[in-house]
């Protein structure tokens, strides 16, 4: 190796590094939305539509309304590849790189959420883990900066049980329910709730962990389909695990109508690879499906019509809509905080106030061009879940459609569970609970 060349390479590298640490220029009237995405890696098929939906909605606000009350929106992405240490690195990189303080972070992975909760607490940043992350972060007294809106995994498990109970004619006594789950922090979340409900409702509950990434499920499904023969199967899967499970369920002849996935097992990327065998498969959702909302027309007109936008083919996908949902939450929090602090770029702390007082009513959803897109959400100091609801959607081979009414989780039973879990966390980590009186 020519040492002179090596020296040049090293020098070039050193110069680059020098460039990186230069502080970003500050301009006042831009609100900065950092976005942790995964457009690469094993879960990219799920990550891409979400990232597109998030940035499309926010950038559409710039084009259609000139920003949020005149404050322009800036979106910066960093690719985590769904990898926890990359997620931490991205968070550290993005938190200081915008033109204003970061509005909020969507870690978009339960593992990354866990890794960021305490960092964000120390830095004064906000985390919105909508439909993932720590369920007990719904207790705003212990987690003033984390928001689980609109609904947690525990509430999702509760809603699934409510749905199947209604389908079974009001009682689950003597029924058999199986849970097929990704053997990770994410997949284990519903177990405690389902076990508690098993005692209350009288069904027998069995668990089937699937090792990451979930391509090998033959034995699991033979056991389910041939030996256990449950009445219902629930799934907490992610990525390629979902379509594999659907294929295997079909191959052992398990009826798809009795197979219900969580909202992360509910996208086009999960059912299309399974082909016709996926017809009839059900899953929970907490926001509307399809590209038929007025806001989609706005995005098409103001972004794609002008040659902008992140990816036209993903518009209206389930996960695209979920990205939009999160973007609405973020932009509405800013709007509400602007009502108190003035129409300018806000700090993270001011946005935190907006999130703590967030209210998106059913009427507001309609005003935003998304009638009946999601149920009304109302966050309070103590309740960071916001009493959201979910519904059951079903795949017919071409599209997802809504097949149940909105199901409100039984929060009177879930709330004490959140609070005791959060209290234990507070005790282990010496966190003083804030007073919400």
């Amino acid at each position: 190796m020519n040492l002179r060349k090596l020296g040049l390479v090293a020098l070039g590298a050193a110069l680059l590094v020098g460039g990186i640490s230069a502080p970003p220029a500050l301009a006042a009237e831009t609100q900065y939305f950092p976005s942790l995405v995964y457009r690469t890696g094993p879960y990219a098929p799920n990550g891409v539509p979400f990232a597109n939906g998030y940035s499309d909605y926010l950038l559409m606000l710039n084009e259609r309304d000139g920003g949020i009350n005149g404050v322009k929106v800036e979106v910066q992405e960093c690719d985590t590849a769904y990898n926890n240490d990359r997620g931490v690195e991205c968070y550290e990189r993005l938190k200081g790189s915008g033109q204003s303080e970061p509005t909020l972070f969507n870690p978009l992975s339960t593992g990354i959420t866990y890794a960021l909760i305490e960092r964000a607490r120390a830095d004064g940043n906000n985390i919105v883990s909508g439909g993932y992350g720590r369920a007990d972060a719904s207790d705003g007294r212990v987690f003033p900066h984390v928001f689980t809106l609109p609904i947690t995994y525990w509430a999702g498990a509760d809603s699934m049980i409510q749905y199947v109970r209604a389908q079974e004619g009001g009682s689950l006594k003597g029924k058999k329910i199986a849970l097929v789950y990704h053997d990770s922090a994410y997949g284990k979340e519903p177990i405690a709730t389902l076990e508690r409900l098993a005692g209350e409702e009288g069904y027998t509950f069995s668990k089937f962990p699937v090792a990451h990434p979930g391509l090998e499920q033959k034995a699991t499904w033979l056991q389910i389909g041939r030996q256990l023969r449950p009445d219902w199967v629930f799934m907490w899967g992610w990525g390629v695990m979902n379509s594999t499970a659907i294929k295997e369920a079909a191959s052992v002849g398990f009826p798809m109508e009795k197979f219900v996935g969580i909202w992360w097992s509910a996208s086009e990327a999960d059912v299309i690879p399974a082909g016709d065998s996926a017809n009839g498969y059900k899953a929970l959702g907490f926001h509307g499906v399809g590209a038929g909302f007025p806001v989609h027309a706005d995005i098409t007109k103001h972004l794609y019509g002008k040659g902008m936008g992140a990816g036209k083919e993903t518009v209206g996908d389930v996960l695209y809509n979920r990205g939009m949902f999160n973007a609405v939450v973020a932009s509405e929090a800013v709007r509400i905080a602007q009502g108190k602090f003035g129409k300018r770029a806000l700090t993270s702390k001011e946005v935190n106030w907006g999130l703590n007082n967030l209210e998106i009513s059913n009427a507001r959803w309609a005003e935003l061009g998304m009638p009946d897109f999601a149920r009304g959400i109302k966050i309070s100091c103590a309740d960071h879940e916001g009493a959201g609801s979910s519904y059951v959607q079903q795949w017919d081979g071409k599209t997802w459609s809504k097949v149940s009414d909105w199901i409100a989780p039984n929060n009177s039973a879930l709330r004490p569970a959140y609070e005791s879990s959060a209290a234990q966390y507070a005790k282990e980590n010496n966190i003083a609970m804030r007073d919400c009186k």
Partner: protein, 359 residues
């Protein structure tokens, strides 16, 4: 010209056997350490400390551990991730069960526990070698991660299986883990801790035990004939290597990420550390640091570079480019210098000693 050792006479065995026999090296080392101890925590941005230097130091520790086993003793291991998980979960159990235990003691004890696990999984090395041993250590990797995932006792029955490092002070009010810990404290502690452990490792390899490892590595039958007991040599290599790797796992969980699940220590982690020592240089403590720096810093540098240069490139393209450049660089290094960066460094030093009159 400045790098010349003419006139430096050694008048004792001690001076002759020093780790850095050349005076200029010693001066450079002192300057480097002074920079690292004083200047870096003072002037580096938190982003640098938190996401670049901290993981670099933690990985250096893991790489030193694996280098002792693979580079010095010649026992190929793919169980690094599993042993790191051991360290992390042992440390978690220890520090939650005995909150009054000092955090440094927790790290050392978790390393000790991992050393025993290492011995257990090192036993097959007495019978099998090379690829077959790699497969046996692969079993350790999968078994350990499975165990920590399977039994909720390990994570104190947390519903999600994630362990979070409890806040622990280094002394008094200076917290090393948890929310109150500042990046400066984390970095400074790791720097001192890893430097001391590296010094111990360096001296181990220069001592009797290190020489028996190298004899086993170079030819185990010959080593046995001249009186080295393979049992002691191989198992001590497994034990000490696992000790280092276990501590690095505990540091990873407690100081770097703050919370981990067992899946964070999957097979990819093992490969990552193995690549570090291959690129850095097998059988070299310096190589462990260089390899860790290469593997940790390069992807971050590559993903930061386009933004720093003001280029508008979409994130997915950056990610893909990063993979390609990284892969190409690894191949390049393996072709140009299969003995790793440490060997490059050594060649550079040799040339510098003769410069400007090479022969």
């Amino acid at each position: 010209m400045i790098y010349r050792e003419a006139g430096q006479f050694k008048s004792s065995y001690g001076a002759d056997q020093a780790i850095f026999p050349i005076r200029q090296d010693r001066i450079a080392l002192v300057i480097l350490l002074a920079l690292a101890v004083v200047a870096v925590p003072l002037f580096a941005a938190p982003y640098w400390l938190e996401t670049i230097l901290v993981p670099f130091l933690v990985f250096s520790m893991a790489a030193i551990g694996l280098n002792l086993l693979t580079g010095y003793c010649g026992q190929l291991s793919l169980g690094t991730g599993g042993f790191m998980a051991c360290g992390a979960f042992f440390a978690y159990k220890l520090s939650t069960a005995f909150p009054e235990l000092h955090i440094v003691l927790v790290f050392l004890l978790s390393g000790l526990g991992t050393a025993f696990v290492g011995i257990l999984f090192g036993i097959p090395s007495l019978r099998i070698k090379g690829f077959y041993l790699a497969v046996a250590t692969l079993a350790a990797q999968f078994f350990l991660v499975w165990m920590f995932n399977k039994f909720p006792w390990w994570n104190n029955y947390s519903p999600s299986g994630v362990i979070s490092a409890p806040p622990r002070a280094l002394f008094g009010d200076i917290y090393l883990t948890g929310i109150q810990a500042t990046p400066e404290i984390k970095y400074s502690f790791l720097l001192v801790f890893v430097a001391v452990m590296a010094l111990v490792a360096k001296n181990l390899t220069r001592s009797r035990i290190g020489r028996t490892w190298m004899a086993i590595r170079d030819m185990d039958i010959a080593a046995e004939i001249i009186g080295i007991r393979p049992l002691v040599a191989k198992l001590s290599a497994f034990a000490i290597s696992s000790f280092y790797i276990g501590i690095s796992g505990a540091l990873w969980a407690f100081i770097y990420t703050g919370s981990v699940e067992a899946l964070a220590f999957d097979i990819n982690r093992s490969f990552q550390v193995l690549f570090m020592i291959i690129i850095g240089g097998l059988g070299s403590i310096l190589g462990s640091f260089l390899g860790a720096a290469f593997i940790v810093l390069l992807p971050i540098l590559l993903s930061n570079a386009p933004t720093a240069l003001g280029l508008e490139i979409s994130v997915e393209l950056i990610s893909h480019m990063e993979f390609m450049i990284f892969g190409a660089l690894i191949i390049f290094f393996l072709i140009v210098e299969p003995h790793g960066l440490a060997r490059l460094w050594q060649i550079g030093k040799e040339k510098l000693r003769l410069w400007p009159f090479p022969y």
